[in-house]
Amino acid sequence: SAVISQKPSRDICQRGTSLTIQCQVDSQVTMMFWYRQQPGQSLTLIATANQGSEATYESGFVIDKFPISRPNLTFSTLTVSNMSPEDSSIYLCSVVWRGRTDTQYFGPGTRLTVL
């Protein structure tokens, strides 16, 4: 089956720094998304990663804080900028596989702790 990987799997960072999270899939996808899951909470969409153009952000999320790139059909990055302890969360990418327009699949997540 197709594989979604994320790097790093976890990290501990100091406030004020930035972290870039990578999402790699092993076959082409039509859509890629980034979600945040704060401790004990449900998942909230951050943005849709658009290939070759600016991401589409949900209300409450801005490009300066969460810049996203998607240079091709199999790779995307999410950067969490100028981090504060409130950014401590699990960050997950999800994809819709090309040719399968019904189901969304999630990567293993990146567990971020900001001190």
Binding site: S42, L43, G109
Partner: protein, 110 residues
Amino acid sequence: GIQVEQSPPDLILQEGANSTLRCNFSDSVNNLQWFHQNPWGQLINLFYIPSGTKQNGRLSATTVATERYSLLYISSSQTTDSGVYFCAVAFNQAGTALIFGKGTTLSVSS
């Protein structure tokens, strides 16, 4: 926006028991998925079920789109079923981001 409500919020079972989890949504949807988040945080797809009934082993799901609810049935529960079960919906077919409910936390003890 669309609201997704799951019940119960918490469920404690003995191994071998059956359970029913419910998901109510406030508007018509074209995409509904059930996920299981295991204790390591991995989200596992259970069902894509915008309508109708599906079964996969000990799990089955039914969505009544006209009445805006979905049910997830777990039979003969096992300790490995523990975790959080999420219902997620979208207005359009996959390609539009999912809106998640708050989840049902299931604990199965032996």
